[in-house]
């Protein structure tokens, strides 16, 4: 069953087109990875889908409901979409646990005890329980990203958006985060992930979307897209990305 569908999605910044008519479907329980050269519009696509950047034209359906028409409850929509940022965006003045409970208390209006119990449970799931009282500045990059993932997951979103979750991590920490995301993949969490990281793409995706110049060039399972795609542009791209690993 489709969770998110977008039809002919266009986004322009000051008249400059970044997305030129994207058609995509994300089904429940599915994990889609979006790849493509820098500046191809990957991150903009994610931000359009949860209306952080409102699209210029086109339709986005969330559970069949058009969320681009006026009068949509943007906040309710965003509560169903967990968002993980490249640079973690953890609240630096709060501990790991408080980072998780703030949304539960202020957005989901949970009591502080219930929020705490929920946070502890989620933190255990990704092995961050022992770090719950640390502040972001006291964590390694991998721990920060795990904390950010927990913060998003604790809100019980229908889908998790990941924007370059491993790009600002060194290889070792990156593996640590990939294994957490892989676990979510195996748990059937619906995910939309933008990345440069072929390793991540391979281990967590049902299919990979290749985006170039603001348009979808190809969509296929990772293996086929990476190793023997007829389009030379795509072969060229993945040759570079995979060789670098």
């Amino acid at each position: 069953m489709p969770l998110i569908e977008c039809e002919n999605l266009v986004k322009q910044f000051d008249g400059k087109p970044v997305l030129r008519g994207i058609d995509l479907v994300l089904n429940e329980g599915q994990v889609k990875v979006i790849m493509g050269p820098s500046g191809c519009g990957k991150s903009t696509l994610l931000r359009c889908l949860n209306l952080l950047d409102p699209p210029t034209s086109g339709r986005i359906l969330f559970r069949g409901e058009d969320i681009t028409r006026p009068g949509v409850d943007v906040r309710r929509l965003r509560q169903s979409i967990g968002f993980v940022f490249q640079h973690f965006a953890l609240y630096r003045h709060l501990t790991v646990q408080e980072n998780v409970t703030l949304g539960l208390r202020k957005i989901r209006k949970m009591g502080s005890r219930m929020a705490r119990e929920k946070a502890v449970c989620e933190l255990e799931r990704v092995g961050m329980y022992e770090h719950r009282d640390k502040y972001p500045a006291q964590l390694s990059g991998g721990q920060k990203q795990r904390a950010a993932i927990v913060r998003a997951l604790a809100m019980d979103p229908a889908v998790l958006f990941l924007d370059e979750p491993t790009s600002s991590l060194d290889p070792e920490m990156s593996r640590e985060v990939v294994s957490v995301i892989n676990k979510l993949f195996l748990d059937n969490v619906t995910m939309f992930c933008v990345t440069h990281d072929a390793f991540l793409a391979k281990y967590i995706s049902d299919s990979v979307v290749f985006l170039d110049g603001g348009a979808v060039l190809a969509e296929d399972v990772a293996e086929r897209l990476f190793y023997d795609h007829p389009d030379p542009r795509i072969r060229q791209f993945f040759l570079g990305v995979i060789d670098m690993r």
Partner: protein, 219 residues
């Protein structure tokens, strides 16, 4: 009259000095916050107004503004009591300085954290209250300590409008005992003790609520 007696007389005025300082700090905080918040507005007339406000109240001498309020406004039919005059004056002047401190601190807050709060479904007001404001305050602490002690050091102007604080007591003591050197040395000591106490208390509070990665030194 021994030096200790002089100190005792002056110390009796210290309560009023402290009360004045706290009232002025509260006023300055309110003005500074209001100006800093308003300056987030992108509306050009508001921006220009605030630039003007900051220039005027950072540029005018405190004593001149105090006299304008206390001795000048009655000429327009507006009588402002002494205590309020000083609170108004220092509230505006220090508020203008604090606004600059708050503005700088707000720019030090990572925009992406506020964005993350909104992406999770918080309203703009919630993102502001729970993310931006608490971090801004932490970055502002050194500047706030500076500004608050500046307020303390401006309070002796209160004697010019007849408030019986430390300096006023010293001035009425001098012609009686004719030992200005000792009296004003004692005034200096009393102020210095209050200043030191303020700095110690503020620093202890800062340390108590310090968060790794968020103190102004690490900015």
């Amino acid at each position: 009259m021994s030096f200790w007696d002089i100190l005792a007389v002056l110390a009796a005025g210290a309560g009023i000095t402290l009360l004045l300082s706290v009232a002025c700090m509260a006023a300055a905080l309110a003005v500074g916050l209001a100006v800093a918040l308003l300056s987030r507005s992108r509306w050009a007339p508001v921006q220009r107004l605030l630039v003007g406000f900051t220039f005027v109240f950072r540029g005018i001498p405190v004593l001149v503004l105090l006299f304008l309020v206390f001795f000048g406004l009655p000429g327009l039919g507006l009588r402002v009591p002494p205590f309020l005059s000083l609170v108004l004056t220092l509230g505006l002047v220090s508020g203008a300085y604090l606004a600059e401190i708050f503005r700088g601190a707000m720019n030090a807050v990572n925009r992406e954290e506020v964005l993350a709060a909104e992406a999770a479904g918080m309203t703009r007001a919630q993102g502001f209250t729970y993310i931006l404001l608490p971090q801004m305050f932490r970055f502002s602490i050194p500047g706030m300590i500076n500004e608050f002690t500046a307020i303390l050091k401006y309070t002796p102007f209160a004697y010019t409008v007849g408030i019986p604080e430390i300096m006023k007591r010293a001035m009425s003591l001098t012609p009686v005992i004719l030992r200005g050197l000792e009296v004003y040395l004692a005034v200096g000591i009393v102020y210095y003790l209050i200043y030191k106490a303020c700095v110690v208390i503020f620093s202890a509070l800062e340390k108590r609520f310090r968060i790794p990665g968020l103190s102004a030194q690490e900015r």
